[in-house]
């Protein structure tokens, strides 16, 4: 019986409705679908009623009585509608095919397990396919699911074993179901496990051996875990203080790895070889006093620790070819070892490896932590990611709650501020305050720089006599004091300006401290390479520079220890007992900057003191234990919202860009432009350190045509400036291309978002239309049946689907 539906025209329907005939057909098919769903849901609803449905069902059912139009109305859908929505194809788009099939499979498992009618307790109100429970009789698609499971098994069998395991691991199924799948995938001819009586002789032997090594292997495994350095310490720190403090210690571990990477080639090719062939001693060896550990001079001067010790000749050369100025050992020579060349190339190779590793790890962590189109401080991220599940202690957990509360409040305030309009006067005032504070901070930096400069000039003008080596500590002391005091001044000034977001405050503080440290180091580099070289023409200036850097490192370490002692221990005692403020916070930014500063000093000094990375390694090891002890005893987790993933990127980028780049520039300048001293070191007879390489290339040219490609490469690619321009142009082109690609991706994302929101509006429109049509049908149907048989007992609020 064809029924003509009388659909009144509503204003938004103008021009969009199909003809009534088409519309009735469409309504018919959806109608059947909804009826089917609603029947099943009707029975459920009847049974669920005594179960205290709570706000969800009642509210939804009540709310759905009215046909809500427009997307801005609070669309509360009934359970049946939600089920339909959740099973729409778009809900499963984006999941892997295996996941979709596996959802059907888990449904099948539940179907098979249920022998009779489902219990009320087991009936979930969920709508997702994997959690949906259907009755066997109602569900006509049961057979299709079994087929799908077989399909799944077949598909998995077709994959290679490693990939199969990988797919199985990633499936959101319970482990028992995965094991069943794996069982089925094995070929049926294979015997089941656990029946050794049926195994053959070899298999039994193998089984016995496996069992015997079983316990041994298990014991070894647990022993190996203990060998991973600081594994438990880091876990404890993460559990007690969270991910942001943990990132500082992980960064320390990364720096240790970098230093070890730097030290290995130096040990192998420079220190080891020179120790095996020691040069003749220059004069009487001074006695060891304790001051050497601080100043790096005295007993340490003429050792393998500094540049001056290294010979400038070819070691281990056969006597038939008399070297210039070197020693001639009478025994049969093996491999001649050109020390100047080795020195230059080893340092260059070590720096190149470090550069490559740094850039790789920076790009890797950048790729992990930044996404195209991701907004800073998005709220969804805070709500879902802010709970660090690693935290296991109750006290730390409570602290996290407080932190999250503060964080959420700050975010909301930031959002309101962004929304709120500020008067032009207020904005001007804020800009003026910002400019003033920045001027003051830059003024402080300038003051510190001038102080360091004048002091260094003073040190040059009044040189320190040889017996008062302790006075050499004056310049490093001044630098360290300024590095310690200026950040506190910056923090005081920063209290004047009030930023919108606390994250910005931290970044600005890091920026200012970094500028101070880099400018101070720049002045010192000028002092060494510009003035000291001139002042120490008749002495070994490279040794002096190496010792200066050693002194800076040691004093920096001592000041860090003092800072930990006073800043954390003493402050905690004062603030807990006297002021009642609680424990001080662990200042991540300042500690990380100290680590970066120490690493810069190492890189600056490696040319003049090849063992400096070893000193840095010892320093980092000691620092780890001291900081860990102080953290556990004295500090609490910081209240500022630091995103742990961004932090690693920021730390590595800071390490790479100002610091490593500066050290590399310093190294290049020292190698190319500065004349090495004529008294000591591997380059004493040359005009620049780089000349050792040039001399070797010339010798290769004369050697013959077999190695002619190397001089050619050297002349046309290294000494020529054209390849540099070409490489720079290529690099710029690649960067431009990437920028354009990112711009295009942003545009596409915006368009797709608009499309999705349009689809959402379409969906709401369709649902409302269906509801209204079905309601009318029901009313007319109910009117008709009321005249006939007694209607089934349906509660009034049992919603219209």
């Amino acid at each position: 019986m064809a029924s003509v539906l009388d659909v009144p025209e509503t204003p938004e329907d103008q021009g969009r409705e199909p003809s009534p005939y088409d519309e009735s057909e469409m309504h018919q098919s959806f109608h059947l679908l909804i009826q089917e769903q609603s029947q099943g849901a009707a029975e459920e609803g009847l049974e669920l009623q005594p179960q205290a449905p709570g706000a969800g069902a009642a509210g939804a059912s009540a709310g759905n009585q009215q046909a809500l139009l427009g997307p801005e109305g609070a669309t509360a859908h009934s359970m049946a509608t939600l089920r339909i929505l959740a099973s729409m194809p778009s809900r499963t788009i984006g999941r892997s095919r295996g996941a979709i099939i596996s959802q059907y499979y888990s449904r099948t498992v539940r179907l098979r397990r249920r022998a009779s009618r489902p219990q009320l307790r087991g009936l979930g109100r969920s709508a997702r396919p994997s959690l949906r429970l259907y009755d066997l009789e109602l569900d006509s698609t049961a057979l299709a699911e079994e087929e799908k499971r077989v399909l799944l098994v077949k598909e998995l069998q077709g994959l290679p074993v490693a990939q199969r395991d990988h797919v199985l691991r990633g499936m959101p199924l319970s482990l028992a179901e995965k094991r069943c799948l794996r069982e089925e995938m094995r070929s049926p001819s294979r015997r089941p496990r656990g029946r050794p009586g049926l195994l053959g002789c070899c298999s039994r032997l193998r089984y016995a051996c496996a069992l015997a090594s079983h316990d041994l292997g298990l014991g070894l495994l647990s022993g190996l875990q203990a060998l991973v350095p600081w594994h438990y310490a880091l876990k404890r720190i993460g559990g007690q203080f969270g991910s942001s403090v943990l990132s500082y210690f992980l960064f320390l571990k990364t720096l240790l790895a970098f230093n070890a990477l730097l030290l290995l080639p130096l040990l192998a090719f420079l220190v080891g070889v020179q120790t095996a062939f020691p040069p003749a001693p220059q004069g009487p060896v001074p006695t060891f006093t304790g001051l050497e550990l601080l100043t790096g001079g005295g007993r340490f001067t003429d050792t393998v620790m500094y540049y001056g010790y290294y010979s400038n000749a070819t070691l281990n050369q056969p006597c038939a070819d008399p070297p210039d100025g070197g020693q001639c050992t009478p025994e049969a020579a093996s491999l001649p070892y050109n020390m100047p060349l080795a020195y230059l190339f080893t340092i260059g190779a070590a720096f190149f490896i470090t550069c490559f590793t740094l850039v790789y790890s920076m790009s890797h962590s950048f790729g992990e932590s930044y996404r195209v189109g991701s907004a800073l401080g998005a709220h969804a991220i805070t709500v879902f990611c802010s709970w660090d599940h690693k935290v296991t202690q109750k006290r730390a957990s409570r602290l996290q709650c407080d932190n999250i509360r503060t964080q959420l409040k700050e975010l909301l305030a930031e959002w309101q501020l962004r929304r709120g309009h500020r008067s032009a006067c207020g904005r001007l005032r804020r800009a003026a305050v910002l400019a003033l504070v920045w001027l003051l901070c830059l003024g402080i930096t300038l003051g510190c720089t001038v102080a360091v400069y004048t002091f260094s000039e003073h040190m040059i003008e009044s040189p320190v006599p040889a017996d008062r080596e302790g006075a050499l500590l004056a310049l490093p002391l001044v630098v360290c004091l300024l590095n310690l005091g200026a950040p506190y001044l910056y923090r005081g000034l920063a209290a004047l300006e009030r930023h919108d977001s606390p994250v910005l405050e931290v970044y600005v503080a890091v920026c200012r401290n970094l500028i101070l440290k880099m400018v101070t180091l720049g002045i010192l580099c000028y002092h060494w390479l510009g003035r000291r070289v001139a002042a120490l023409q008749d002495q070994c200036w490279e040794n002096f520079v190496g010792q200066e850097l050693y002194r800076l490192m040691v004093l920096d370490f001592i000041f860090t220890l003092l800072d930990t002692l006073c800043g954390e221990l003493v402050w905690r005692l004062i603030s807990e007992r006297r002021l009642g403020w609680g424990k001080p916070e662990f200042d991540i930014a300042r500690n990380v900057l100290e680590l970066i500063y120490g690493q810069t000093l190492t890189w600056l000094g490696v040319l003049f003191s090849p063992l400096l990375p070893a000193v840095q390694i010892i320093k980092l090891l000691l620092l780890f234990y001291v900081k860990k002890a102080s953290l556990l005893a004295n500090c609490q987790a910081p209240r500022r919202p630091w995103l742990a993933s961004h932090m690693r990127t920021v730390f590595i980028s800071l390490l790479c860009f100002p610091c490593f780049l500066g050290a590399a520039i310093f190294l290049c300048y020292a190698v190319w432009q500065v004349k090495p001293s004529s008294l000591c070191g591997p380059f004493r007879s040359l005009d620049s350190m780089y000349e050792a390489g040039k001399v070797w290339v010339r010798r290769l040219e004369r050697a013959g045509p077999q190695v002619s490609w190397l001089p050619w490469v050297h002349r046309y690619l290294v000494e020529n400036t054209f390849p540099v321009y070409l490489l720079s142009a290529l690099l710029l082109a690649v960067i431009y291309l990437n920028i354009q690609v990112v711009k295009g991706q942003r545009k596409v994302i915006r368009l797709l978002k608009e499309q999705i929101s349009n689809e959402g509006e379409d969906k709401i429109f369709l649902i409302n239309k269906l509801h209204s049509v079905y309601e009318r049908k029901e009313r007319s149907g109910a009117g008709r049946t009321q005249e006939g048989a007694a209607p089934p007992a349906r509660p009034a609020d049992h919603r219209a689907a």
Binding site: A127, L168, S222, A380, C385, K390, T392, L643, G760, E761
Partner: protein, 185 residues
């Protein structure tokens, strides 16, 4: 106390568990140890079950505000078998793939289990995060409206799985924070 044997587990079972989960063999053994300590004595580990309360009182979950949801999602009929515990540890391990973590995070955060994270779910999440019932209504409604503004792409006032997945893929911190160390060794 564990009158059960130490290391009842067979080598082949260990291999299978290691192939099917993201845990290393050592971690599986540590969980096996912890499981045996908690299960009733004399029972074979494959048949023993733990109640939700026992699992909730594990040191790794004791301080977690979502422990009841975690137990609900990973248990079958409100009890944990050994394989259920392994499955839970696997999802929360460091090596687990993001899609698996996002899938289970969605299930955990869907308090009313209707397949969507709606406003009610969001409010309950915020209350759990702040661990107090004394939260102003304004804060709750403001927060939920902001979250939905940013992540709800089709404007139906709920977060479907795709929208949740999209938001979590944009948040690299999610992988870091959705980790629990279950083994005490």
């Amino acid at each position: 106390m564990g009158q059960c044997l130490r290391y009842q587990i067979h080598w082949e079972d260990l291999e299978e568990y290691q192939a099917l989960t993201f845990l290393t063999r050592n971690e599986i053994l540590c969980i096996h140890d912890t499981f045996l300590k908690l299960c009733p004595p004399g029972k074979y580990y494959k048949e023993a079950t733990l109640t939700t309360d026992q699992v909730s009182s594990l040191p790794a979950l004791r301080a977690n505000p979502f422990r009841d949801r975690i137990c609900k999602v990973f248990s079958h009929n409100d009890v944990f078998s050994f394989e259920d515990v392994l499955g839970m540890a696997s999802v929360f391990s460091e090596q687990a793939c993001p899609s698996l973590k996002i899938e289970y995070a969605f299930r955990i955060y869907d308090f009313n289990e209707n397949g969507f994270i709606d406003e009610e779910d969001l409010q309950r999440i915020v209350l759990r995060l702040l661990n107090s019932d004394d939260v102003s209504e304004d804060l709750l409604t403001d927060l939920t409206s902001h979250v939905l503004n940013e992540s709800d792409l089709d404007n139906d006032n709920m977060l479907s799985f795709s929208e949740f997945e999209h938001a979590m893929n944009k948040a690299p911190d999610f992988m870091n924070s959705f980790r629990i160390h279950f083994w005490g060794c």
